[in-house]
């Protein structure tokens, strides 16, 4: 029991509320290994990607968010918020993480 509880605690971490992020914007969450960009779309869906473009590690949290994608600020790759893959002709993917929205609270699962 204990073990299971501890595990849930560790896997789903509360990182803030949806109101902390502007619509069509992003905020960063940091842990010891990396920075995670948490995006909010215009229709209030929330996605989490490692804040590192598959091209040259550009900070995706700084990009322009549009239609379920973010355009990287460094060289304009377009990355899907859903699964982190590069769109169009570009190839590559950045890590994406499950997000749970409970009311306005955002939980991330970074162990997946």
């Amino acid at each position: 029991m204990n073990v299971a509880l501890a595990e849930t605690d560790l896997t789903w971490r509360h990182v803030g509320t949806i109101d902390d992020i502007p619509r069509q914007g992003a905020r960063c969450v940091k842990n010891a290994e990396m920075t995670i960009a948490v995006f909010r779309t215009s229709d209030d869906r929330v996605f989490a990607l490692e804040d590192k473009c598959p091209h040259k590690a550009g900070p995706l949290s700084n990009g322009i968010v549009h239609g379920g994608c973010v355009t990287c600020p460094l060289h304009n790759w377009v990355i899907s918020l859903e699964d982190g893959t590069a769109q169009g002709a570009d190839e590559g993917a950045t890590a994406s993480f499950p997000v749970r929205l409970e009311g306005r609270d955002i939980y991330l699962n970074l162990s997946a």
């Binding site: 803030g16 914007g25 960063c28 940091k30 010891a32 920075t35 040259k56 549009h66 002709a89």
Partner: protein
């Protein structure tokens, strides 16, 4: 009726064009394409601009995904066909997909030739044929070091120039004594070599590669004579071989290429071939013009009109290296009865040579000034007797019959069958007819209907001149949709925002029928600017539609840190300001402090989290954002003027400061840079700025439309005024007119070229009332714009940009 099945092997430029012709006349086919490359059809000849960074892959896609869908085409990407069963009439791919055909087209293009020297298979040795090669080169360029390009022909030199622009050291090895010896004579080859060497490319002719050395990847290249050259990348561009493997295996007749008749039919009547893999009449081809001709012919035989036959013709060569102009066509070796006419201008570095036989042009080589290429080619094709103009032939078309030296007159003089677009074989008459018959008014429409200038693009200028000639004022100069989300151009969008009173981005997208829900990273910043400029005080700037630099008021760097440039009005500073800058650099461990080309100081490598405290300290010392990141006012450079200089005629420094104080904070379609110089010696470089002021004894000359970035151009005179007040009013009016009518990202020189210098002078210089009205509107808009964005953010605005939302690690948290 069930449709016939058409299968195509290869998805390159030739079959892509063939399908376009086919769909114009026939819908009788179900089309299946196999492409070894995992992508749609793109413009292979534009890979060099992608390599150099002048274009992106998106820019060069010919048929996007939607095109295949619209035409019901099945495209197997990344599926190489390995077998054709002519009995069963099927093809099978490496991945095991089999497709039956009624008609088959083989369009496998060419394979680059790889010199089989030792080490040729080491990682870091690339050919230059497709996007993967370009990606490989870009990855290598990222790491830096030296690239060695083997082959000094068209491809090799384009690769070399591109890699140089990407910051690599570049050596070109060429076996022959001069560059591009197949297209250029030695004199032009020498000029080309000098030009490329002046750009820092190391060129070695007569160099024969012996081996490539390296343990796990390329490290060096060894020449016959023992010379060793260090290399981190080797690009082989030494020629191509028609790709005939599948055809050969299927037992079709194959010579150098897949043998086809003048209707592009192979030895099997149900199998056609087009492109570089095809051989007609003993010839194979490596440039798109004849391949497009093949595409047209094959389409006519597939759809049953059968009204076209393939005929050989000479294709001119042009090198797509920005700033290098060369043109060659036809023959230029030594032969019986051949006569040369040569013109050299050593000072200008130009060279031209026309080769005649029996008083007919049979070849031409132009270097430096290539405007007459089309004219010589026209004479070559028509086989016209030129004895009448022997004396002046070499001077070009403008010297014939006293024609004016004017580009419009030059196209007016061309005959109807003069070829304008070499790639697509489109003549002047075709274009003029299409414009008049179909009512085309934009370059995009002309491209779509005639294909002229739609390939390598070097004839775009000619096509535009022809449009100007045919249409006069009816020519629409802003043809293309502003991005993939709309078919409306910038001009339409700006007009409709005003006409319909649209005041938000969602309102524009709704009313103007955007095809995407939220636009894209191209249109959103443009729309945001238009709204900021059109509705001052009413529209609330949409931060989420601004590029990161304008959101955080600093320039993002390649490692995700930022640079901070405080304003120094007119380039003047004080010991206190300098001390404050030095203090923040120390306090926040800022790695670089640099004097910019804009007469101020750049702090580079500031961490995002430190931006707010850095600004707070700079604000305290009285400094505000220099907007070094903005599409808006950047700098006003000045020289010392009457304050100190023995030649100064007016207080150029003081006027520069006044101008910068008046203009700072304003947003514009693109960046806006000014300079005020104290006399015509021009130490502040006013004559290459967006707007410049040249002080003279009797007053101030206002000039504008200069450029000294990607493009270099001197300014044009707007007019002369007597007082500083008039300077300020006129520049406010000019800026406002540009703000109201410019297209997003259009620098002032492009705007003025588009709407006309005379027109601008009429509106904001000669008409004093209009000048004042524009200047007033500018001043009004400035009341909302002149708020220091740094101070706003220090006070708490947009704080979410600068702080992480959560820190999940206890140790990290303590550190933050």
């Amino acid at each position: 009726m069930t449709k016939q099945r058409l299968v195509i092997i290869g998805n390159g430029m030739a079959p892509g064009r063939m399908l376009e012709h086919l769909f114009e006349t026939s819908t009788d086919y179900d089309v299946t394409i196999f492409n070894a490359e995992p992508r749609v059809n793109y413009d292979r000849i534009m890979l060099s601009p992608v390599l150099s960074g002048e274009k992106t892959y998106e820019d060069i896609i010919i048929h996007g995904d939607a095109w295949y869908e619209d035409h019901g085409i099945t495209l197997h990407r990344g599926e190489k066909v390995t077998h054709i069963d002519r009995e069963a009439k099927t093809v099978t791919s490496e991945g095991g997909i089999t497709a039956p055909y009624d008609k088959l087209v083989i369009a496998t293009g060419s394979n680059p030739f790889i010199i089989p020297c030792p080490g040729h298979d080491l990682p870091g040795v690339l050919a230059y044929r497709d996007l993967n090669d370009v990606d490989g080169m870009l990855a290598a360029a990222e790491k830096g070091g030296r690239a060695v390009v083997i082959g000094g022909g068209l491809l090799g030199l384009e690769a070399a120039a591109g890699l140089k622009m990407r910051g690599m050291d570049v050596t070109v090895l060429h076996l022959m004594p001069t560059l591009m010896e197949r297209q250029l004579d030695p004199a032009a080859g020498y000029l080309l070599q000098k030009e490329l060497e002046a750009r820092g490319i190391d060129i070695r002719c007569g160099a024969n590669t012996k081996a490539i050395h390296g343990k796990d990847a390329v490290e060096a290249i060894e020449l016959d004579d023992g010379t060793m050259i260090d290399a981190t990348l080797v690009v082989m561009a030494v020629g191509i071989r028609p790709n005939v493997a599948v055809a050969q295996e299927a037992g079709l007749t194959v010579n150098r290429g897949i043998v086809a008749d003048a209707s592009l039919r192979t030895s099997d009547p149900d199998i056609f071939t087009v492109g570089e893999c095809a051989e007609v009449d003993g010839r194979v081809y490596g440039l798109v013009a004849p391949l497009y001709q093949m595409a047209r012919v094959a389409a006519s035989h597939l759809c049953g009109t059968c009204d076209k036959e393939f005929m050989h013709s000479e294709t001119p060569t042009k090198l797509k290296v920005t700033g290098v102009n060369l043109y060659s066509v036809g023959e230029f070796g030594d032969g019986p009865g051949m006569e040369d006419v040569v013109l050299r201008d050593a000072a200008k570095g130009t060279y031209r040579r026309v080769i005649l036989r029996d008083n007919k042009v049979i070849g031409a080589v132009l270097y430096g000034d290539t405007a007459d290429g089309a004219w010589y080619n026209e004479m070559l094709k028509s086989g016209q007797d030129v004895s009448e103009m022997r004396e002046t032939l070499i001077f070009g078309q403008n010297y014939q019959g006293g024609g004016a030296v004017n580009p419009l007159a030059a196209v007016a003089n061309l005959a109807d069958d003069a070829e304008i677009c070499g790639c697509n074989g489109i003549c002047k008459g075709d274009i003029v007819n299409a414009i008049t018959a179909k009512g085309l008014t934009s370059l995009g429409d002309v491209r779509a209907h005639t294909k002229a200038s739609a390939s390598c693009g070097t004839c775009t200028g000619l096509v535009e001149n022809l449009m100007a000639l045919t249409l006069g004022d009816a020519m629409s100069k802003a043809p293309e949709g502003m991005c993939g989300c709309t078919t409306l151009g910038h001009g339409d969008v700006r007009r409709l925002i005003k006409a319909k009173g649209l005041k938000s981005i969602p309102a524009i997208m709704q009313e103007l029928e955007w095809t995407t829900a939220e636009g894209c990273a191209k249109c959103r910043p443009a729309l945001n600017y238009y709204l900021v400029a059109d509705w001052p005080g009413e529209y609330k700037d949409d931060q989420q539609s601004r590029f990161i630099n304008e959101r955080v008021h600093a320039n993002i760097q390649k490692d995700g840190t930022y640079s901070v440039v405080p304003r120094m009005f007119g380039g003047m500073t004080t010991p206190d300001e300098l001390r404050a800058i030095a203090d923040v650099a120390d306090k926040y461990d800022i790695p670089s402090v640099k004097v910019t080309g804009g007469q101020r100081i750049d702090l580079l490598g500031v961490k995002k989290e430190d931006l707010i405290p850095v600004w707070a300290d700079l604000n305290k010392a009285g400094m505000i954002s220099g907007a070094a990141y903005s599409k808006g006012l950047r700098t006003v450079k000045t020289c010392v003027g009457t304050d100190w200089c023995r030649f100064g005629t007016q207080d150029s420094t003081g006027l520069g400061i006044k101008l910068e104080k008046y203009l700072w904070g304003s947003w514009a379609p693109a960046k806006l840079k000014l300079a005020v110089t104290g006399c015509p010696r021009n130490c502040a470089e006013a004559t290459c700025k967006d707007i410049g002021v040249i002080c003279v004894d009797s007053g101030y000359e206002i000039v504008y439309g200069g450029a000294a970035g990607l493009h270099i151009q001197g300014t044009t005179m707007l007019g002369k005024v007597a007082t500083e007040e008039e300077v300020i009013e006129t520049i406010g009016a000019l800026t406002q007119y540009y703000r109201e009518t410019g297209f997003y990202l259009e620098r002032i020189y492009k705007w003025a070229d588009r709407i006309g210098y005379d027109h601008i002078r009429d509106v904001i210089f000669d008409d004093l009332d209009a000048r004042k009205a524009f200047a007033d509107r500018f001043a009004y808009s400035q009341t909302f714009a002149q708020i220091d964005p740094w101070a706003e953010r220090v006070a708490g605005a947009e704080s979410h940009e600068f702080k992480p939302m959560a820190v999940l690690d206890a140790a990290l948290e303590a550190a933050e």
